[in-house]
Every structure is written in C-alpha cells, then in structure tokens.
Amino acid sequence: MTGLEWVIALLVLLGAIFVLIGSVALVKLPDFYTRLHGPTKATTLGLGSLVLASLLFFNFVLDELSLQQLLIALFLFITAPVTAYMLVKAGLHRNVDAVSATKNKHLMQLSEKQRPK
C-alpha cells in the first residue's frame, strides 16, 4: 500500500466513525433539540472526510478525473443547516418540550409569538 492509500483508508475510517457517532447521538441524546445536533454535525465532518477520501481515490489512485464529489459536498453543506433550521423551528412552533435541565427554557416562548396566524 502506498502512502496515499493509507491516507485514504484513514479518511474513510475517520468518516465512518464520525457518521457512527452522529447516529449514536441521534438515538442516545435526551430530547428533540439535542438529538438534532448529531445528524447535522456528523454529516459535516464525517461525510466531509468520506467525500475527500473518494476524491483522492478516484483522481490519484485510479487516475481518472472525477469531481462529482465536490458537488456532494456542496449540496451537503447547503442542505444540512437548512434542514436543521426547519426542524428546530417546527419543533418550537409545535411546543415540543425540551429536557428540564435545559437552560433559558423561557426563550422558547419567544418563538411562539411569531407563529403564523
């Protein structure tokens, strides 16, 4: 195995670990709002390194020009925060409760005031 292949293997492994941690967070964390943190974060770093690994593999190991991975990264970085934002907003507007340990819970009411009539 060449040095580059080691790097790619490491990136794939790291990416898989981060995606796994994100999924674990989705199951394990206590309420809707904290659970959201898992998937939005895992996609950014985990899938980011998977995409980078794929980019390196196809372009330098197989020696064919392939830049589609850049598009995956682009779409990912645009859609992940928008999805998260819409989910939180929907949660707030539907009065989804947060765990009692949450600080500044009163701030959730602010969102209620601008609920569409």
Binding site: I21, L36, H37, K113
Partner: protein, 175 residues
C-alpha cells in the same frame, strides 16, 4: 436602461455556477453536455429572475476565502470536542437556549451566519427574532436564537459567535 448583456444574464456568477455544476453532475465535457450546460446556465436565471430579491453584493473574495477556511477548521476542531459530550452520560449534559444579539440586518449575510452556526458543532440556530417579511424595513434590534448542546459560559459563546463569525461577515458585506 439595462444593457443587453445584463438582460441576457441577470446573474452572471450564478450562470457560471450552473454551468460548472451541470458539467460536474455529468462528470464530462463532451460537446452535448457543454451545449446543455450553456442552455441551462442562460435559461434558468432568465426564468427565475422575476422571483429574486435583491441581495447584498460582496466583493471581498479574499476575506470570503479566509472565512471559509476558518469555518472548515472550526468544524474539524469542534467536532472532536463534541465527541466527549455526545458519548458521555446524558445527566452531565447542559443543553440550553441562547439569544445572540445581531448587528447584521441584510438577508444574505444573516443566512450565512445562521448556517455557519448550525454547521459548527455544539450549536444549531433555531430562529431569527423578530421575523420580518420586508427585508428593507429596519426592525431595530434582532436576535438569533441558538440551541446549544453543552452550555457552560453563555457570555463567552455570544462573544465567540459575534467576533469569530459575525464580524468577518460584516466586513465582507460592508454592513
């Protein structure tokens, strides 16, 4: 009176982007894809020009690049910090909501700020308060409601978001 190039290409940057994205999607520069890309790059902006709101322009490409690199760095570093929080016991978790006062007013930089906050681990932007239909109207002070996974020092977090992300955005967009 707008020149004919402006009428043909209302948003040149977007046209170039569409062109490149189409070629990337097909992973090819065969003539048929070049033709299709050109048609789409010219056609889509023309069709959608009527729906667009005027956005704040920015010309500081160097600063934008620095900002992008900084955000990427932060994503990597903060992800590593957050693993401990995620895998640790739930009872040690200190989630919370934080109101970050905003100095940005325009829609585009606000969107970028909210997305950055969501992408960097530990924080998800939840809402911009108060909501505003007309982007030209000045609503006075506005806030970004942020949900934090592990809230230790509220003031420090607000300070960090303002200095690390809002300040460069204000310089980039000159607002």
């Amino acid at each position: 009176m707008r020149s004919w190039t402006e009428r043909l290409m209302p948003t040149p940057v977007r046209s170039v982007m569409l062109f490149v994205v189409w070629l990337l999607l097909n992973n090819s520069v065969a003539p048929i894809h070049l033709v299709a890309a050109t048609l789409l790059a010219l056609g889509i902006p023309l069709l959608t020009a009527g729906f667009r709101d005027q956005q704040t322009p920015f010309r500081h490409w160097r600063q934008a690049l620095i900002y992008l690199l900084r955000v990427l760095m932060d994503i990597v570093l903060a992800n590593i910090q957050i693993i401990r929080v995620v895998l640790g016991p739930n009872r040690l978790l200190k989630p919370g909501f934080v109101l970050v006062p905003l100095e940005l007013q325009a829609a585009l930089p606000l969107t970028i700020l909210a997305c950055t906050v969501s992408l960097t681990p530990g924080t998800v932007s939840a809402e911009i308060l108060p909501y505003q239909d007309d982007p030209t109207e000045n609503m006075g002070e506005r806030f970004l409601l942020v949900h934090v996974l592990d809230l230790n020092d509220e003031a420090a977090l607000i300070q960090e978001i303002k200095q690390r992300y809002e300040q460069p955005l204000r310089e980039m967009f000159e607002c």
